[in-house]
């Protein structure tokens, strides 16, 4: 597939890296030559310097033969213009635009329809949705959903005194009577796909897959807090905050926002009636104490500076034992940040690229199964994918235990006729099933890739 990426910022770069699979030919476009060089020096892609919203530059980048154009420049308007021109110039070119501002977001369906966009991606909204999910279920570090929220993949960390420490994966099912599946275990820098004999230790990060209500029961049984938080303190009033407040408002969670800029504070207070807006600098400890940071059930740091967010979250961690969420823009230092033990960390840039990568993989037509959802469970190591079984094939011919699946593949859940099934070896896949697979074989497009 021929892909053009307009904009070589952080997202553009991550996309160039992740989409750079065997049969994708990628061309990156940016007006800044140095940024193009940075991408072409690191990845096997071609670079074109120029304004991606002009016909001539897109021609040079080969729009005539392109299958997909992804516009991820800093400006919404330029992204939309890029897609518009690509649509007119390209013969069969699909387009994806990043649109972040809430004004345009309200019109996303209209834009998609009228401009013929294949996808409008809003990283701020996606980040807000992810944060809202963990605030509803604060024991989890991260929650990914499948089959429109019917199946959840939850990540959580085992504290020192957890009853699970010392148990094996197999014993969990037996002793807790919960229909769930342990998928992955992260211990230090190592990542494992769970097998029955794996024994848990304190500080392991575990991911499980289950129905939302089973997950709730499970967390109750292992003495985790499973109820949504009641109140949230948010530092920083950007676009994510705006979306997040709207989402939290629907769940009836009390929200306080601390925003430095007076004008922006007024705007927020105007558009979000139920939210408490404090016009002050969140980096001031007095302000935080006044808003009772030590008592709120959740603290979310969403300022524009990563350093500030990290400091705020570390401070919050030292004074309270509530839920803490940190937004990080720069993805280059994620391994260092992991060691800080910050509870939930949200990377809007990664969310954007995950969405787009999933879309691109699903574009390659496959027979038998269709890719629906894709998440990176552990970055660069483990992926979770949801497929729909559409036709008869080798996969539906025999029970799971008789299929010759590759090592490191876990058929984690099946959604069939409105019910969630944690599959056992004797179960057989049927047409119409939604199947969630967790695996360390990256780059899945089709469930048949899982067979040996």
């Amino acid at each position: 597939m021929n892909i053009i990426i307009v904009g070589c910022g952080k997202v553009g770069r991550v996309l160039a890296e992740q989409l750079n699979e065997a049969d994708n030919n990628i061309t990156v476009v940016d007006i800044n030559g140095a940024r193009v060089a940075e991408v072409t020096d690191h990845y096997d892609v071609m670079g074109v310097i120029g304004n991606g919203a002009t016909h001539a530059v897109l021609q040079e980048a080969g729009i005539g033969k392109a299958d997909l154009l992804i516009a991820v420049t800093g400006s919404d308007e330029r992204n939309l213009l890029c897609c518009l021109i690509a649509k007119k110039a390209g013969v069969k070119c699909q387009t994806i635009a990043r649109v972040r501002s809430p004004q345009y977001n309200a019109e996303a369906p209209y834009l998609k329809e009228e401009l013929g966009l294949a996808m409008v991606i809003n990283p701020e909204l996606a980040a807000a949705e992810e944060i809202a999910r963990v605030l509803r279920f604060p024991s989890a570090i991260k929650i990914d959903t499948f089959v429109k929220g019917k199946i959840e993949l939850l990540k959580f960390k085992l504290p020192e005194d957890s009853p699970l420490c010392g148990m094996t994966v197999r014993e969990i099912g037996a002793s807790l009577h919960c229909d769930l599946l342990v998928c992955t275990i992260e211990r230090g820098d190592e990542a494992y796909i769970a097998s029955g004999d794996f024994r848990f230790e304190a500080k392991d990060i575990i991911s499980i897959i289950a129905e939302p209500k089973t997950a709730y029961v499970f967390f109750r049984k292992i003495h985790y807090k499973a109820k949504p938080v009641k109140d949230v303190l948010i530092a920083g009033g950007g676009d994510i905050t705006h979306y997040l407040c709207e989402l939290l408002d629907k769940s009836g969670i009390a929200v306080t926002v601390i925003e430095k800029d007076a004008e922006r504070s007024v705007m927020l207070a105007d558009s979000l009636k139920t939210v408490n807006v404090i016009s002050a600098d969140a980096i001031d400890q007095d302000v935080l104490m006044q808003e009772h940071i030590e008592k709120v059930e959740a603290f979310v740091s969403l300022t524009n500076l990563d350093e500030e967010n990290i400091l705020l979250s570390l401070f919050a961690k030292s004074v309270s034992d509530g839920k803490i969420v940190t937004k990080i823009n720069r993805i280059d230092f994620d391994s260092v940040i992991e060691h800080l033990d910050l509870d939930t960390v949200v990377y809007p840039k990664n969310l954007t690229s995950d969405h787009i990568v999933r879309y691109v993989r699903a574009m390659t037509k496959t027979i038998g199964t269709g890719l629906e959802t894709l998440y990176q469970v552990i970055k660069g190591k483990v992926e979770a994918a949801e497929f729909i079984v559409t036709d008869e094939s080798a996969l539906t011919a025999a029970p799971l235990m008789q299929l010759r699946l590759k090592d490191g593949v876990l058929v984690a859940a099946v959604f069939r006729e409105g019910r969630v099934l944690i599959p056992r070896g004797s179960d057989q896949l049927q047409i119409g099933d939604s199947v969630v697979v967790v695996t360390n074989h990256l780059g899945l497009r089709d469930m048949h890739d899982l067979l040996q």
Binding site: G33, D41, D44, I49
Partner: protein, 478 residues
């Protein structure tokens, strides 16, 4: 420095060189020459060494700019040393320095020789000499990259370091596909020339040798009698010498019917230089007794210009005897060289264009100090970094030149000989004037001077920087 990765790539290189030696081995088998065993053994040893070394796959495949330069410089040295072994062991060239000179001259597509005569030289040795031109012309690492995934995204550093021109860009997004396309164009053009030469009645052995030597813009001849071919063949060679001196991306664009884009400023200037040189030199030499009329003068002057401008280095006539204007202009053409992204050597037309445009801008700025000027080529602004690298290239070029002149001066030869010997090796051309003219050879020089010239050829083929950096202490600092 990623030494394990360097080792791995050298291993690959050895394996490929072993495979390339199949060509002279086959030649030796066909002509039943005693060197068959030697070539077969060397080839097998190369393959074996390459196979063993590449068993150790490096974990860390990351390359940086420094590794790119280092690997390319080292690869070419290894390539040349191994390539010299057959000449030396067989006794065809008894001294190792001479054998190395011949091998380096072959791979760097120079075509300068230390042999006094080709009489008695086995055919397989001649074939190996010519074939090294073809391998070196487009670059051996580019060849490997066309077939194997070497280092992921970062092998662009290797391609940049090995391919000629001030800025190397890809034709298509993938390095592998780009390298493949370049080699396909290269191969098809070589075969086209071969077929035309055969139609012109050239014997098969000569036709293959001449075709691969022209393609790489090398210039080793294979016939003790020089170039005793029909005018048709001479003209075919002339045209192909010009064609192999053109940037290969122009051909790619033409194949995709993007004719307007393919006619770059560089190509226009290249054609302009050719036209100017052919007209004035033909007028200058047509009265010489060596030519029977203007037609023959035109044919031979075109051939010579093509040969020297594209840095091939074939000769049909002794241009050393031409009038002073022609000799001077020919030396100037040697400095210019072919287009960037071709198989030819020299400073390259595009660098000359950038230098002149930059000079023009800077002169304007001297009189209007606040004027803002940008340098454009084909409608695109040229990056300041490229202008800087072109300037540094020129400074390096003349520094090496100065050192050369001093080293060569100890051999007590005249200035013209030394001057043209330096440009002929540094720009990978082959023959110079006077004592190193088309009818003489480089054996006039002492061993020390030959080593200097070997350095020149390698430095010239890799566009100075990789070889110069290899000898610079800063590269070796941790």
């Amino acid at each position: 420095m990623n030494l394990r990765m360097t080792g791995y790539i050298i291993g690959l290189l050895l394996a490929f060189e072993g495979a390339f030696m199949a060509v002279p081995t086959l030649t030796a088998a066909i002509y039943r020459e005693p060197q068959l065993f030697l070539f077969a053994l060397t080839a097998l040893l190369c393959l074996l060494a390459g196979f063993l070394i590449t068993r150790f796959k490096p974990q860390n495949k990351t390359l940086f700019a420094r590794d790119g330069f280092f690997i390319v410089a080292l690869s070419w040295i290894v390539l040349s040393v191994v390539g010299a072994l057959p000449f030396w062991i067989s006794g065809c060239i008894p001294r190792f320095v001479d054998a190395l000179f011949e091998s380096v001259s072959g791979f760097t597509t120079t075509g300068a020789s230390i042999l006094h005569t080709l009489e008695g030289m086995p055919k397989c040795m001649l074939m190996w000499r010519s074939f090294t031109h073809w391998v070196g012309g487009m670059g051996v690492l580019v060849f490997i990259m066309a077939l194997l995934p070497v280092a992921g995204g970062q092998n662009m550093y290797l391609m940049k370091a090995e391919s000629p021109g001030p800025s190397v860009s890809k034709l298509v997004p993938r390095v592998k596909k780009t390298a493949m396309l370049l080699y396909v164009i290269y191969f098809v053009m070589t075969v086209a020339e071969l077929v035309l030469l055969l139609i012109g009645g050239m014997p098969l052995f000569d036709a293959i040798n001449i075709a691969v030597a022209t393609a790489g813009t090398g210039g080793f001849s294979c016939n003790p009698a020089g170039m005793p071919y029909s005018p048709f063949c001479i003209n075919v060679i002339t045209v192909f010498m010009f064609l192999f001196g053109v940037n290969f991306s122009c051909y790619y664009l033409m194949l995709h019917r993007r004719f307007k884009e393919s006619f770059t400023a560089e190509l226009k200037v290249y054609l302009g230089i050719i036209a100017f040189a052919i007209i004035t030199i033909t007028l200058n030499v047509r009265h010489l007794p060596m030519f029977r009329g203007t037609g023959e003068a035109l044919m031979h002057s075109s051939f010579t210009i093509g040969s020297l401008l594209s840095s091939t280095g074939f000769a049909t006539v002794d241009f050393n005897q031409w009038p002073e204007y022609s000799r001077t202009l020919l030396v100037m053409l040697m400095f210019v060289g072919a287009c960037a992204g071709s198989t030819g050597g020299g400073i390259k037309v595009s660098r000359i264009i950038i230098l002149f445009k930059n000079m023009h801008n800077e002169l304007r700025i001297m009189t209007h100090p606040r004027q803002v000027k940008t340098l454009k080529m084909d409608g695109h602004p040229v990056d300041q970094e490229i202008i800087r690298s072109v300037n540094v290239y020129l400074a390096c070029f003349f520094l090496i030149y100065a050192v050369n002149m001093l080293v060569l001066s100890f051999d007590q030869l005249d200035l013209t000989t030394n001057f043209t010997a330096t440009v002929a090796t540094l720009n990978n051309i082959g023959p110079g004037l006077n004592m190193v003219g088309p009818t003489s050879n480089f054996d006039v020089y002492s061993t020390a001077s030959k080593c200097m010239l070997i350095f020149n050829m390698l430095a010239g083929r890799l566009e100075l920087f990789p070889i110069v950096l290899l000898f610079s202490p800063a590269t070796w600092k941790k």
